[in-house]
Amino acid sequence: MQPTDTRDPQYYHKVVDCQWACPAHTNVPEYIRLIAEGRYTESYMLNRESNVFPGILGRTCDRPCEPACRRVRVEDDPVAICRLKRVAADLRDDVQHLLPTAPPVKNGKKVALVGSGPASLTVANDLVPLGYECTIFEALPKAGGLMRTNIPAFRLPVRVLEEEIDYVLDMGVDIRYDHRIDSMKELLDSEEFDAVFVGTGAPKGKELNIPGRAEAADNIHIGIEWLEAIHFGHIDSVGERVLVIGVGNTAMDCCRSAKRLGGKDIKVMARKTRPYFKASPWELEDAEDEQVEILVNHSPQAFVVEDGRLLGMIFDLVEWHENEKGRLVSTKLDETFIHCDDVVLAIGQDNAFPWIERDIGIEFGEWDMPVVDRATFMTTREGVFVGGDAAWGPENIIWAVEHGHQAAISIHNHCNDIPVTDRLPYGMTLVSTKMGIHEWRYSNDYNPANRTPMRYEELERRLADIQVEAELGYDIPQTAREVERCLNCDIQTDFTAKLCIECDACIDICPVHCLTITENGTEEELRDRLMAPADNLEQAIFVSEDLPQTRRVMVKDEDVCVHCGLCAERCPTAAWDMMQFDLINPHAGQHTWSPAATSA
């Protein structure tokens, strides 16, 4: 193999599994260390740089970082990354003076943002400090998009939501509530704006067109609309027996909301079995803790109506197996009738762009979706950008935020006559953490503790009031324990081949056998003859330059390194060093590198 180029920021970035998996590349290990030091405010601000809404996300993030966490490969459970984020948000001091502000003199450029979900808010967050005048058009009377209208208050208190939305709006965003944009053509023709960003989400709940749908309409609710109605107080009760159709995260919010609106017997009806459920494992757990029943292999067939009132639903009882093409197909075993008073449909969301004319240069493609560039977020019409759920269908908040950051870079380029494809690559800084002979600037002692369980509000109290937050967050002792589980994956084992005397000390000490000195070879063959086989192909192996004494190479399997630093402690020549890697993830307005940074 060729020697690994560790000066390419993406090499070490990939070692920081959580940061790599986070769409916004939040610097997780550093924010966890700041929490460990009690520096909650700094931890919050570091989070905010990448993810804009730490308080909201610390409660609701989809957490793509957690399944990626290295800890999963060493033991079973990931570090509670998301819950620690909430600790930073909950315990921070006033941050008002640390927030970005709009310059007194504007740059003369105007940007229209359609919708006020996390995608649009992020664009505003990035552009207002650069002097842009941002105008948000929001169809509803309040800002926040689905974060506000669909994530129930028992998961995300309105106070937390509003505080972080206001951090953005209060910089001086011009937001027009109750202002639905009905014609993109008109908006563009007004020539009021230098750029338009579409952050309108995927606002249409999917229908279930089976017999009885029209007759029972009064008691059949579309999940996302129903949650919105609850948020705005238009709905405050539900029948005793409720069936929720679908088993994604929306279904979980619906069934748990129903529990709080007076529903007694709540059933979530799934067509398939547990391994196919779309809901996150923790949301399923929470719902089941609240005594919601989940029935599998029930395929809805009809609504049964008597005297104009919904009586219940008929389901096929099915069994699933793979056909020759490897596709799952069902066989009907039986049929069943289940009584209910209300049904909530939570089977997905669709995009809808009836308000964008098809003859104004914005090309639409498959599924009647606008054609959007994956890197620049620009449509086929210059100056019109799309991000968040509106771009490629429903995702989550953190993706919407990252789309917002990237679109902001494009908008900034567009307004400055720089090609939108002209983007600063990732950069990094790499600084030794050595403090003394065997002392480092991070806690390198491995803590074998298991994941810290969450504390919950007492069941009775939380079901009595939809505003009561279910999770209580970690207390200080829990936090102190959980932070030590982080393996500091950003503290990189950095190797200088010319210093190595091939004494084997690092090889011998490594607890997880991830180092080997051996003859070079092809990657496939090398992976096989290391101290322990490197069979996780998702993870890179590092190969050094030739070693001075024997011309062999140092090989490191990045897979299960626990960043304990013992290789560097046992190395007599400091050929290994533990260096803190800091990814520089350029945002709008950044055009050059700081002198300390290395770019790709």
Partner: protein, 351 residues
């Protein structure tokens, strides 16, 4: 010295041996030796050897004297028995322990100072008595623990860290062992586990005194330019005269060798050692020829390595003393010390 303990985290793909243990189950406490010390690598090689041989940790007794090398028994198999004795006295402790309990696997760790200066007499007599043990001499040419004075194995002309030149001739432990009749004599290098591990395995299986001289650089006091026991010097002057493969009982022999190049020696438990000649005119089973050949290699300024001499173990300490097969420790007090009546009866013979 590291302040943290070694993480308990393990690689999920770590292989297990016949006892279901991984190499990590053969570790001891964290080393307090200097980072990069050759002795730590010898420890790692021992761990590997014990693991590969499926040795039950409680069946091992680790013995040592004084020196950095003599500290190392603490760093492997924490469940084993151990005795860290006085400077140079490891051999007599080993002999005593072995006399009392012949059922354990004895491994003595010593240094060039421990074995060739203060303990030279002890070393010689352990060979002469043929104490059934693996004797590892971690040879760095200096007294590491007392800050790097030349030891008795330092070569003429070798320079100390401050530039002082050694003028007294070295004692070569391999020659000593060969002349005194040891039946297993090897030399290896801490920086070459491929060679060292099979030699240690064969030594553990040898049914008598097995001696392994391991060049094990002192990274702090004897790894500079001008030293003849540094990593770089050893690497460039090592001369492997015979290659050793150890074939445990269970495994089948897969490697094919050219006719006449391999000599297979059966060990008492059914395992075997395969000696592959590298030098055509070297015979690792001819003691006198070996002494002569190794002398000529040394004259050329090279360090001969490999399992240099191997023969039937012959009579050991227990045969000489005509002890019973059963370990003495397992005999009852009455049997061991039958009382003055019986003693008087025995003594009558000489009255």
């Amino acid at each position: 010295m590291s302040y943290i303990t070694k993480p308990v985290a393990r690689h999920k793909g770590d292989r297990t041996n016949g006892l279901g243990l991984t190499t990590r189950d053969y570790e001891g406490s964290m080393s307090t030796l200097c980072a990069g010390c050759g002795h730590d690598s010898v420890t790692a090689a021992l761990i590997q050897a014990f693991w590969e041989l499926d040795v039950e940790p409680h069946r091992v007794a680790k013995l040592s004297g004084i020196g950095c090398s003599s500290k190392t028994p603490t760093y492997f198999i924490k469940e084993a028995h151990g005795f860290n004795s006085v400077h140079g006295r490891m051999p007599s402790i080993a002999a005593g322990a072995n006399a009392a309990n012949r059922d354990l696997l004895y491994v003595g760790i010593s240094g060039d100072g421990d074995s060739l200066s203060i303990g030279l007499g002890q070393f010689c007599h352990a060979i002469r008595r043929n104490v059934n043990m693996l004797y590892v001499l971690e040879n760095n040419g200096v007294y590491g623990l007392t800050k790097g004075q030349f030891s008795a194995s330092a070569d003429i002309g070798s320079k100390s860290k401050k530039g002082e030149v050694n003028r007294q001739g070295p004692i070569d432990p391999v020659s000593v062992a060969l002349t005194l009749g040891a039946t297993f004599v090897a030399r290896s290098f801490s920086g070459d586990k491929q060679q060292l591990v099979p030699i240690l395995e064969a030594g553990l299986e040898h049914d008598g005194f097995a001696f392994v001289d391991v060049i094990s650089p002192c990274v702090t006091f004897n790894d500079h330019v001008g030293s003849t026991k540094s990593y770089a010097y050893t690497r460039t002057h090592m001369h492997e005269v015979v290659q050793t493969d150890f074939v445990p009982i269970r495994s089948e022999i897969r490697t094919e060798y050219a006719e006449g190049t391999v000599r297979e020696v059966k060990m008492h438990d059914g395992s075997s050692v395969r000696l592959r000649k590298v030098d055509d005119d070297y015979d690792p089973t001819d003691r006198h020829a070996a002494i002569e050949y190794l002398g000529s290699v040394a004259d050329q300024g090279e360090i001969a390595t490999g399992l240099l001499y191997l023969a039937e173990a012959g009579e050991d300490l227990h045969r000489f003393s005509a002890t019973v097969d059963q370990p003495l420790v397992s005999l009852g007090y009455e049997e061991l010390c039958p009382g003055s009546e019986v003693l008087r009866e025995v003594q009558k013979e000489w009255w």
